[in-house]
Amino acid sequence: MRILLIEDDAVLGAAVRDQIAGDGQSVDWVQRLDAAQDAMAVTSYDIVLLDLMLPDGRGITFLKALRTRGDVTPVIILTALDQLSDRIEGLNAGADDYLVKPFDLAELSARIGSVARRYTGNPNPIVTHGILDIDLAARSIRQSGKPVALTAREWALFEAFLARPGQLLSKTQLEDKLYAFGAEIDSNTIEVHVSRIRKKLGAAIIETERGMGYRLGTP
């Protein structure tokens, strides 16, 4: 998943960015609304994390403009405990969820996961795929009842396939999901991760369309 973090505080922003990256997702972090505007113009994000008080304006205004444009990217607002009016305004303006500052990073990861699942149309975190039982919330996979461990990157890549079963995903699309702007990506990184997932879950789990991309297969 590719996530846009809009948060002006350097310390908090860095911690949140590292947490999301640690989960294997790619994250772009901006500290101002105008930068967020630019980022959204060139990249399609799976989730936006939006602080409500930013140096160049209110997050609510940004959110309203986003929804007015018809953009349905899921938005999680970061808000203070007692600013209920802001939170209600945010939810009314089209926010999908909220996190109350200060929040636990584990809670943040869980919220991101739950919003993403809701967005893909299946809010149930337990998915069965062939002989695989997958718990999206707990990030655990059982193959015929035996647990299989994936690294954060592998998980993020596998999740991208699970979110779009049957759909062909290009290498660039997959790179976008996994890496932030300006990250150094080796030309064969995706291939490396795909082959590791195949090793763990069986070769049929990911099908290759030569020269086009990959899609989810049945193990």
Partner: protein, 446 residues
């Protein structure tokens, strides 16, 4: 005499008194001067009569043969005599008298001119070196009656006109101070939250500066409140963001380090920061409860706020710990949603913390605006209940809060004109605790 404090009373009383006194004085002066004029006319008639009679009497008496004889003139036609007269000689013998003249009313002759007795006004005139003396008498009763009639005609209308005038004054004063009274009523009728200017277009010019000043003051107050609200929000943001950053960093440290000791230290830092966060949240809430503006110009649905607050808390507790019940219809209130959130959160957190560890907390928001939060748990004694609202008072010792939750709720309740009611055991049961308060409700007839 002390004047009444009301403007109406003062105006009515002083105008009424001044008008009455002036009117009575004017009427009295008129009566006195009329009486004086009347006396002059009467006197002139008396004098004229005497002077017309005297030559006739002289002719009559000089032509007589017998001296000292009294002649009583008979009436030509029967009539009541108004003026009576007698003619006397130097020896005071009566020579001539009108037919109704009573000699007793005529005092001894003592020279020409006006005289007055207790009953009559008299005029003396003599001729032939004082040998023929004429005295004409006019009864004073007549003059007195005329004077009375004049007084009556001057006085009677006053008896009717003065009360009418007083009523007219009261009505006129009432009408004049009407705008002032309406201004006062509008001021009285407004609630604590209403800081909009009071319409004062029809106010009298004398009071207009007061209205203008008051409206200016309200305007500044509104500005100050708004500034305070946004300052509080900014200050809270400034305080929370670094705390959130530090906590997040401490959590990252715990997940990134392989060193057990460092992880434990990071966990300690995180716990301390979280405690600091809780305490500072409470102080911000208390500042808000005691100083901030709690009621807004527009109403919002409290059910939405209650849902969010409960959802917030539910994220941190076991499922089904909180039973929320809300009315079917929107519960509109001008209570600041943030303030309601503070109320609700504190009551629920208090119930979770001090009540039974497993029993559910029932949060009930009724259609009439009564919020009640009840929980199972040991009975809290009446003395403790009284002291509970005092700041920093805690119901138990093993608590995790700074103990000002109920004090915050009580402060907000007091400032919105309500009261936090604490009951233990909860109504209809042998155990437990219930806290409730009535919220401002603009949905129905409030």
């Amino acid at each position: 005499m002390r004047m009444p404090r009301s403007l109406r009373g003062r105006l009515g009383l002083s105008l009424g008194m001044i008008l009455s006194v002036l009117w009575v004085a004017a009427a009295s002066w008129t009566a006195v001067s009329l009486r004086h004029e009347m006396d002059e006319v009467f006197d002139s008639t008396l004098q004229e009569t005497a002077q017309r009679l005297l030559p006739l009497a002289v002719l009559d008496i000089v032509g007589r043969e017998d001296e000292g004889l009294t002649q009583r003139l008979g009436a030509i036609r029967d009539h009541a005599e108004f003026f009576t007269y007698i003619v006397r000689d130097a020896q005071d013998r009566i020579l001539l008298q009108s037919h109704a003249a009573d000699p007793a009313v005529f005092p001894v002759y003592d020279g020409a001119g006006f005289r007055q007795t207790a009953t009559h006004r008299l005029y003396n005139e003599d001729a032939l070196r004082g040998s023929i003396r004429l005295t004409v008498a006019e009864p004073l009763a007549q003059r007195a009656q005329v004077a009375r009639e004049i007084q009556m005609r001057l006085g009677l209308p006053l008896l009717i006109v003065i009360p009418l005038a007083l009523v007219a004054i009261v009505l006129a004063v009432e009408a004049s101070v009407g705008p002032v009274r309406r201004f006062r009523d509008r001021l009285e009728a407004r609630t604590a939250r209403d800081l909009t200017p009071i319409p004062a277009h029809d106010i009298p010019s004398e009071i207009e500066p007061i209205a203008t000043t008051l409206n200016g003051l309200l305007n500044r107050l509104k500005g100050a409140f708004d500034a305070e609200r946004s300052f509080a929000a900014n200050a809270a943001h400034e305080l929370r963001t670094p705390l959130a950053g530090a906590i997040a960093q401490a959590q990252r440290l715990q997940s990134e380090t392989k060193d057990t000791a460092a992880r434990a230290r990071a966990a300690d830092i995180e716990a301390t920061l979280k405690r600091l966060t809780r305490v500072s949240e409470r102080f911000m809430q208390l500042a808000r409860a005691e100083g901030g503006r709690l009621r807004l110009d527009q109403a919002s649905d409290l059910r939405t706020v209650a849902r969010i607050v409960i959802e917030d808390i539910e994220r941190t507790v076991a499922p089904d710990r909180i039973l929320l019940s809300l009315p079917d219809e929107p519960l509109m209130s001008d209570l600041d949603p943030d303030a309601f959130g503070i109320l609700c959160r504190n009551l629920v957190e208090n119930a979770l913390r001090h009540g039974s560890e497993t029993g559910p907390v029932a949060v009930n928001l009724a259609a009439d605006g009564v919020l009640s939060v009840s929980n199972d748990g040991p009975v809290v004694g009446p003395q403790m209940l009284d002291r509970l609202t005092a700041r920093f008072e805690r119901a138990g010792s093993d608590t995790n809060g700074s103990g000002i939750g109920l004090a915050i709720v009580a402060a907000i309740a007091e400032r919105i004109g309500s009261r936090l009611v604490l009951i233990s055991p909860r109504p209809g049961q042998k155990t437990g605790f219930e806290a409730s308060l009535k919220l401002p409700n603009s949905s129905r007839g409030h």
